[in-house]
Assembly symmetry: C2
Homo-oligomer: 335 residues x 2
């Protein structure tokens, strides 16, 4: 991903809500120096708080690449986006995307990019022939973030912990398993695009032998309780061989994301199932803490909720993005 030229113009498209633009949000939060401006189509419900730019303004501001910062269900390149994507190539921008629907599979984009000498970067596409998982114990330590649902803050949790650990002088590596993480860090496994038989093996590949005191902080995907994606989560738990699990939850969600008929599990249910499954690959695995995404709660409400969760679960709880990841890193250091 180091081949993607920075800085970026973040394309938010016609995002139906803020959550749909989490790719853009992640780049803006973790690599703000790359996030110069945003481009929104009519009806866009997401806002990164960045200057709204048209192509000419963004060009003048130095942007090199238009990054598709929005995802819709199924990962499709919307016909509504095409005019702008073509214009961006013509204006001299490269395009970068983590969608299932590849830029390189769109004949018009390929043709215009070729004519204009621009690059199409599909970070979704696995670039490695991953092995089948062998289950052999690896050196070094690993933390995996697991969630009650999709999009509850697993990536942010791992990134916050990496930042805190590096500030303390500890050895830690965020390991990206999704397109946003890959766009942020320039490396990783696009796990939901890996062929089924090689999922766990790709996670083993991503988190190889390391120093005994080094922690891989593995980005979670999906949820063991989300029927659309639970298989991906399972492969992360068994391929990652985590020594430590951090439970992630968003308390205001009315139902599982995209599944109106499905309620979120309790933190206790997640704790028990994730730990039982993780112990198959690493009998020493422990749940070390809880990460709550409190973005939809006032501060007093958030602090009260965290205190309640700590009391109920007997584990340290924080919103690492809002209140810091200190207690989670303390728990890792105690292992």
């Amino acid at each position: 991903m180091s081949l993607i030229e920075t800085p970026y113009l973040l394309f938010l498209g016609d995002a139906p809500d803020q959550l749909a633009a989490k790719v853009a949000q992640g780049i803006k939060d973790w690599r703000p120096e790359y996030a110069i401006g945003q481009y929104r189509l009519e009806g866009c419900k997401a806002d990164m708080g960045l200057p709204d730019m048209n192509l000419a303004t963004a060009k003048a501001a130095g942007c090199k690449t238009l990054v598709i910062g929005v995802a819709n269900r199924g990962g499709i390149i919307s016909p509504a986006w095409k005019k702008l994507l073509v214009a961006a190539l013509e204006e001299g921008f490269d395009l970068a995307s983590g969608l299932h629907n590849l830029l390189r599979d769109e004949a018009d984009l390929v043709a215009v990019a070729a004519a204009c000498g621009r690059q199409l970067h599909d970070v979704r596409v696995p670039s490695v022939d991953y092995p089948i998982a062998n289950g052999v114990k690896r050196t070094g330590k690993r933390m995996l973030a697991v969630g009650t649902d999709c999009s509850v803050g697993k990536m942010y949790t791992a990134l916050c912990m990496e930042k805190e650990m590096r500030a303390r002088g500890l050895k830690a590596s965020f390991r990206a398993t999704g397109q946003t993480g890959i766009l942020i860090t320039g490396d990783g496994v696009p796990l939901d695009a890996v062929i089924a038989d090689f999922m766990a093996g790709s996670v083993e590949w991503l988190t190889p032998d390391n120093d005994a005191d080094h922690w891989d902080l593995i980005e979670g995907q999906g949820s063991l309780f989300h029927v659309s994606y639970s298989g991906v989560t399972m492969a992360l738990v068994h391929g990652g061989q985590p020594d430590a699990l951090v439970l992630c939850h968003e308390p205001t969600r009315p139902h599982m994301r995209g599944l109106p008929g499905y309620k979120l599990p309790s933190l206790k249910a997640l704790n028990d199932l994730a730990l039982e499954v993780a112990k198959v690959a690493n009998p020493a695995c422990k749940v070390v803490g809880i990460s709550i995404n409190t973005q939809h709660m006032a501060e007093a409400e958030a602090r009260a909720y965290l205190a309640q969760v700590e009391a109920e679960m007997g584990l340290p709880a924080t919103d690492p993005f809002r209140f810091g990841a200190g207690v989670l890193v303390n728990a890792l250091e105690a292992i």
Copy 2:
């Protein structure tokens, strides 16, 4: 798969043991009329009990297609097989394979097939753009076979149950999720080759709305306890929305297949984990019976073991291939 011309010459290659040739075994057991002969290389440890044929003999016997009936770890087309595969094409046979390593990706096979006007059938390759699972409840009933390990008899269990149900005049469809099942029935989803995000959706696609009294008998894959493939199994459980689970086990296995450091779980552990996970997608799901693969046990030993399992688990237990699937079908009829 109806395009694959029959009958077959089953290629056993240099199979290190009988289990490695389970594709050939499945075809021989369930479509014996297609299984005319076998071709074995030096050192082959598998034997289907079919006449050993060379290409000329097989041609004279009417064989139309050479089916690769052996799988090695990783699903590679071994260099040791190439001479024979090329010769088969030259002698007028089509080739059919369910390996990850596609026939169509081998330049020499493609060239010879084109020159000789022969077909290369890769049943491994998904032929459909599967949807993302939506978790919506479907009409009709579904049974899923889940195992303590890989290769313990999940496909045979479902096929035996289909045979018994059809003999009773019940509505039942075996739903293939692996290459052997697809080669046997001519339809299905090659689940371990599906892209991660679409695994559960492909299982929903495979088992659509049906008559209220119709049973889909879904072939299982992997095991929730097998760290290499557990993600595939998880997608089957959540995509299949089973009303009934049948637990499958092979009692003489010293460790998980391909994972020397991993012991098999108990039937009780499988019962509890599979049911807990299945209830996320279908709260009414029940474990209805147990299928034991007793092929490595004498008959008296097998019957004693089944009685012991029935007593311990409080569920009907049989080896459906050896002693019939009657008790399992009785259990489905009772739902």
